[in-house]
Symmetry: C2
Subunit: 323 residues, 2 copies
């Protein structure tokens, strides 16, 4: 009963395999959390039903603790429209086309519901109570299967005119370069995502280059960036090359963002940021090496602090944002 009268938000982070949710207060403190399987194969109605049940469970939990629910924030993979409250066509959720999710969840739970994309919400979470604390201008790069971005300008999420700002992964860094999943040539994502890093390593292994990573493959395992980072740490030349290359591409992305937007901070998040200083340090070194000496204020690069919780925390906090 210590939280008596406190107003809490429910935050959901909906992915292709799991839905993470939590009760969060206005300062980002997590009161409780639940994770369920998305069961995306069950279809749109099935997933919506699961989300409604999850929201009701958390509402009851809040009520039992004497708190009331301010609203529900939902983070989903794009494409979507926050303004319209619609999920449009997320690649990770096949079959979801133009779903008025805000209307459905709001009717199903009685709460005000706010929708945004997961990268924006994760950036908001880190901004308010993670690696972005204390600054007003930051960009968070989410490094995983793809490269996503969330931008905070002047203390507010910047979504852009068409709500799709922050697609840093699809900025071109090598004109005429590697083909990206989006169709363009030379996108950052085609060089510096986890997927691209593994691809670049596999290409060199297929070419017969010597590396301890071959043993992993011979054992029938799929190559991951964790294996590459660990092999690099153990002095494997190929792994070191590939990883340093990834970090160099990320340094280019950071420099480009800094030249464009003059930021206080760039936060590295997502699966690949689990490498920690083995990621941050070589990115900083590469910025120092390739960046213009005229760049008066180099970006302050930090590792994300909230891990997988950034998404639902940010979703919850998004309900407190001015409209």
């Amino acid at each position: 009963m210590s939280n008596s009268l406190e107003s809490l938000a429910i935050g959901l982070d909906v992915g292709g395999t799991a839905i993470k949710a939590g009760l969060v207060n206005r300062r980002g403190h997590v009161v409780s959390t639940q994770t369920i399987a998305t069961e995306a194969n069950g279809g749109v109605d099935h997933v919506i039903e699961r989300m409604i049940r999850l929201i009701r469970a958390l509402t009851n939990e809040a009520a039992a603790a004497g708190s009331r629910i301010e609203a529900v924030g939902v983070g989903m993979p794009g494409t979507l429209s926050r303004k319209k409250g619609m999920v449009i066509a997320p690649p990770n959720l096949p079959g979801w086309r133009n779903i008025p999710i805000v209307k459905w969840l709001s009717e199903g739970t009685g709460h005000r519901v706010v929708l945004d994309n997961d990268a924006n919400n994760a950036a908001l979470g880190e901004f308010i109570c993670g690696a972005g604390r204390g600054v007003q201008n930051m960009i968070m790069l989410t490094l995983g299967t793809g490269v996503g971005g969330g931008m905070i300008f002047g203390g507010r999420l910047w979504r852009g005119a068409y709500e799709n700002a922050g697609e840093i992964g699809h900025t071109i860094i090598v004109v005429g370069g590697r083909r990206c999943g989006c169709g363009q040539l030379g996108c950052l994502e085609a060089y510096a995502s986890a997927t691209a890093t593994v691809t670049r390593a596999m290409e060199r292994i297929s070419n017969g280059e010597d590396t301890c990573l071959r043993a992993e493959l011979n054992n029938g395992r799929l190559l991951t960036t964790e294996m590459i980072v660990s092999a690099a740490r153990n002095g494997d030349a190929l792994a070191r090359d590939v990883w340093e290359e990834t970090c160099r591409y990320l340094a280019v992305a950071c420099l480009n963002l800094q030249h464009t937007a003059s930021l206080e901070r760039i936060v590295l998040a997502g699966g690949m940021s689990a490498a920690g200083e083995a990621l941050r340090r070589p990115v900083l070194d590469a910025i120092d090496q390739i960046g213009s000496k005229m760049l008066g204020d180099p970006p302050d690069i930090r590792l994300a602090e909230l891990g997988n919780d950034a998404g639902f925390i940010g979703s919850a906090l998004s309900v407190f944002e001015p409209a």
Copy 2:
């Protein structure tokens, strides 16, 4: 006497060779204009003295017409600090180091004085009464000796945390590519500025390729982008190649800005934009060709409308901006 009681601003656009100035009303209407030589060789004090005399002359002109001066806006090449009112180290004005220009001009004229960099002021001018009318989110690329940028987000100039946002010319588009004047490799400016366009043409001419441009050089003339555009128009293959390449690099820059910031409009300004549709059309074609089909809302590319007046008009309008 028709402007009686109207409040006007004085705008100055200070370049290495000329100072353009004007009396401008709050809606960007130019009441009168004057241009004088900078006489930068005369030193800092000499130029400041000339600026003060120019401001006094325009003040008297306003008074004679029954108008009062709201304030004076000054646009200078960077680096500078708007917040501190200081010119720091502009490459085009040798000898200018840490000049408290706002203090000096304000003491010399009795007016409130506001300083900003020329690219920002030109973007503000186009935003309020040129090619940016009617939108809230735009970026203006100034294409000349270098590639500059000015950004309007949510109807306000975005200067960034360290006041140097918009350095689009130094975003890297070819990792490990051509050396830029800033020291980096592969900057947009090293490929798509007027200087870089001429350099790329000269390289091919030096390699002995056939082109009508050789005649210009044999006549002792310096190659310009105007000559290249005109030769391209007349079917010269080398000129067409070089110009199309420039437009392709600019298309990459536009795509990158669109993916990053989700803009309503991108305005092409500066000397090279005098090419008009011969610039805009191939940039649009290249965006269509190389841009991701996933890019829901392609950038709306327009040509600047105010020409060389954008600078002083924007300088004047900057005094009406909230602080």
